[in-house]
Every structure is written in C-alpha cells, then in structure tokens.
C-alpha cells in the first residue's frame, strides 16, 4: 500500500492504529436505507460518447435514437461502510415503447480498483411497456467496495415517445 500524506502523517496513522472499541449499540443494529435517484443522475454513452438524453425533461433519461441502444452508467452512493453491509435491491422505473426489445440492468459490487465482486441482473419481458425492474442483490459488500448500476435502453420504436429510465431506488442494509 503506497500512501503519501502531506501533513500530520503520524497523527493520521496513530488515529488509524487506535482501536475504537467503544462502539455504540446503534452502530451494530441492522437497518435498511433507501435512496431515490432521478434517471438524469446517470451518465449516458453511445459508442463511448457522452450524449444529451434528457430531451427536455431533466428528471429522466431517454433514448431518442431509433437505431442505437443507449448504455447508462448510474452512480450509487454507498452510505453503510461495514463489511457486512451491502445492497439489498435496486428498483429501476422504466418506460419502453419497443415491444421487440427489452430494458436490462446490472447492479455491481466492485473492488476499490474497479474489478468485479458480485452482480445481480434483470431484464424486462418483451412487450412490457412500463413498470419497475427489480434487481435483488442481497450481498454483503465488504469494506471499501463501491456500487454501480448499468442499464441498456433499447432504440425507440417511434419519434414521439422514447424508452427511458425515470428513476432508480437503491436499498442498502447495515
């Protein structure tokens, strides 16, 4: 581990090396915590390029292309840090006007270097126009690891309404 500290390095290391045994009962209790993110919180790419997919409504992301799928990478803020904390589930609210294509999503736990730890995947049924896509992960994450949600939106069937991610809800457990 290579760490360089600019100031008061001994103080920091001393703090790290001090065992904090006075944990309160509250930190050991188990609880769920939910966060709700607008679809527009996601990053979007066609073939690696950033695109504007808001199409007038800044709360959600839409795929306005009638030929290309839209790949979305959606941040998740990890709020519980303990090694036995993790993600219970993720619920993605979607709309899809393309009956021949599906919306698919993955939620990942990633090591601190970005390598893969665990994944839950889900896909809508053909013909499902709207609803909630639930990804049940139910995995302890381990320390320092992070979460990421990725989704594919199919090309739009028309030029008047578009497949979209409206929001995603992430439930963590402690």
């Amino acid at each position: 581990m290579y760490i360089q500290l600019n100031k008061k390095q001994p103080k920091l290391w001393l703090a790290y090396l001090t065992l904090s045994v006075g944990l309160s009962a509250s930190t050991l209790s188990h609880a769920d915590d939910a966060k709700l993110y607008p679809g527009s919180y996601c990053k979007t790419t066609y073939e690696g390029g950033l695109v504007d997919a808001s199409n007038g409504d800044p709360t959600q992301l839409q795929n306005t292309s009638t030929s290309q799928s839209l790949f979305m990478t959606c941040p998740i803020i990890r709020d519980y840090m303990a090694s036995d904390s993790g993600i219970k589930n993720v619920q993605v609210r979607y709309f899809n006007n393309n009956d021949a294509k599906t919306v698919s999503c993955n939620v990942d736990i990633r090591h601190r270097d970005g390598s893969y730890v665990a994944r839950a995947s889900a896909r809508t049924n053909y013909g499902d126009r709207s609803g909630v896509l639930t990804l049940n992960l139910n995995r302890e994450a381990g320390v320092f690891r992070s979460y990421v949600l990725t989704c594919w939106l199919p090309p739009s069937f028309s030029n008047t309404s578009f497949p979209k991610i409206e929001s995603y809800r992430v439930v963590e457990f402690d």
């Binding site: 930190t27 050991l28 990478t73």
Partner: protein, 335 residues
C-alpha cells in the same frame, strides 16, 4: 457477533508490496462519525467540456472516470457532497485510483473551505502502473465544504489512469450556522438547521445541450463562457428520506454571480415519472445588489410521494463586458 464486531472495527487489512502490514482502524464507525463512498462517475473533467481534457475523459462501466489519452494529462473535479453529512466536518478523503503511466504519477488535491478560508492538501502517488489509494486528511479544525481535484496522467500502455471511487469521512458534529459564509449552508440565519439537509455541488451537473459551452473550474463553480448562448445546466437531486410517515419537504437554493440577471433563472422540476413534471420557478434574491444572490423555492408537498423525484435546472447567462457568470452551489433539504 465476533465477525460483526471485527467488521465494524477494521475497514482494511492491507499487505504492501514491501511486506508491511497496516491495520486501518475504523474511527469511521464509532458512533460519532459517518462516511460515504462515491464512484468516479460523480467527477467531471475540468475545463471547457468540448475541449481536450473533457473529450479525453470517459466514464467506465465499472463506475470509474478515466483518462483515455495516451498523450495528455486530464484534471478532474469531484464533489464531496454527502447527504445530510454535508453539514459535518470533513475528516479525510481516501481516493481509489489506478495510475496508468510507467513514469508519471497521479496527484490529488483536497480543497476545504472553512468560512471563506480555503486550505488545500496534496497527495501524490508513486509512479508506475498500479492501483492504489491516496489519503488526504483535513487537519483543519473545521470545514464542512470542499472538493477534490486529481490529475490523471496519460496511459503509457493499455491501462488507463482512473479514479474508481473515493471515500469521504465526516465527523458527526454540525458546525454552527453562519449565513455570511459562502457558499451558504444556512437557510435561516438563526442557527443550525432542524432537520437532515442535502447539498449538491454545482460541479455535479449534467449538460442540457451539447452545443452549450460550460466550463468546469478546478474550484467549486460552473461558468458559461459563451458570448451569446444561455447555458442550461441540470442538477439531479438524490432523495434520502423516503420514510412514508415523514412528509418530505424540499427547498432549493442556488448562488449565482452575474451582471446579467435578467437571463438567469432556476427552476425546480418535480416529477412522478409521467413525463409531465411540475415546474416551480425559484425566486432570485440579491439583498445587497452586488450580483451574488440566491434562487429559492420549494416543491409541492401535497403532490409528493415516496417515488417523486426532483431536479433543478438553472440557466447561466452568457458572458458580457463585465465578465462571466458563475453558478456555485445547489442545495436542497428534505424534512
């Protein structure tokens, strides 16, 4: 229970390449402190978003932000916004990165703003292609607001330099509220806010149009460098208080320095996903008429559910003979 206790006690047991063993102990999980891990997706490239630095920046499917250039270093800027913990003292930031150059290194700066007094802490990685962690400690006694910048060197082989994630730890002590502080964290000058508060840096914006010309600073604001076009920027707001028996309530405040206020506007979009969001204009106030003011407003409590989402869109005026407009902070709170 023993496993649980140890998992709470130790956040890391890491063996270095030189054989040393470090036990990183969790002050993070004493009852007094809290922490978040943000992915690199939260970060933005510094500079004009249609120029080299930004164009060399990619978001990866693993949640990282990466410099894909084999030639140029890229600077990125990452907000340290938490949720209600934004009102707390920032203790340290641990940056998980990959250095993709054999002879150049990754450098990160932690900026902490303490009532207008800005401090910067710097950490440098070693050179060589490696994944590692940089820790930046805020040794100041205060400072609840800050941001992180990192220089990502170009790749010298196949592996790109990335920031994968960063962990921010806060002390669980809300500072006293000071309405003269910029950027402002207090809606009421009377004291500490009575409920959880949420803050989003202006750095966490989404481009509304590709043609617009936003400039992300290495500080804490977004600038419109266009001479003609208004720049719309979008700030998605994360909700963290979804308990059904607690009615949430949202305020939004933006701070904008401009000499062209007639072209500036901020609006709150409140949506249940039906494609027809309710839109609320935020009211501009600039009590001393110095060009620094706030947009304030609220959503509609009566139509809120636990699936209602909120986004703020602000129009930044084009630059004029008197200079450019800067948007520095978006804050919302939920009760």
């Amino acid at each position: 229970m023993l496993k649980l206790l140890f998992s709470k006690l130790f956040t890391s047991l890491t063996v270095s390449a030189t054989g040393g063993i470090f036990l990183l102990c969790v002050s993070a999980h004493s009852s007094a402190d809290d922490a978040f891990i943000f992915s690199g997706l939260e970060c933005l490239a510094v500079g004009k978003q249609n120029q080299t630095s930004a164009l060399n920046t990619r978001y990866l499917a693993d949640g990282s932000i990466a410099n894909q250039s084999a030639t140029y270093t890229t600077t990125i800027n990452c907000p340290l916004k938490g949720l209600k913990e934004d009102m707390r003292h920032i203790k340290y930031v641990a940056v998980n990165f990959t250095n993709g150059h054999s002879s150049r290194n990754t450098r990160c700066n932690l900026y902490v703003d303490n009532y207008g007094q800005r401090k910067v802490y710097t950490a440098n990685s070693l050179t060589g292609i490696r994944s590692d962690v940089l820790i930046l400690e805020n040794t100041d006694e205060d400072g609840v607001y800050g941001w992180l910048t990192c220089n990502l060197p170009p790749k010298s082989g196949s592996k790109m330099s990335t920031i994968h994630s960063y962990q921010v730890e806060y002390e669980n002590e809300a500072p006293s509220c000071n309405d003269s502080w910029f950027p402002l964290f207090c809606f009421d000058p009377s004291g500490v806010p009575p409920a959880p508060r949420f803050a989003a840096s202006a750095l966490r914006f989404e481009r509304k149009t590709i043609a617009a010309d936003p400039y992300v600073s290495s500080s804490d604001y977004v600038t419109n460098y266009s001479e003609h076009q208004v720049l719309p920027v979008v700030f998605p707001l994360v909700r963290d208080n979804l308990t059904e028996n607690i009615a949430p309530f949202i305020k939004v405040k933006a701070t904008l320095k401009t000499d062209n206020i007639s072209l500036a506007r901020c609006r709150l979009f409140q949506s249940d996903g039906n494609g027809n969001p309710e839109i609320y204009e935020l009211e501009w106030t600039d009590s001393d008429d110095d060009g620094v003011g706030e947009f304030r407003g609220t959503g509609n409590l009566n139509s809120m559910t636990n699936t209602t989402i909120f986004t703020v869109q602000c129009d930044i005026p084009p630059k004029s003979s008197l200079g450019t407009s800067k948007l520095s902070a978006i804050i919302h709170s939920e009760y």
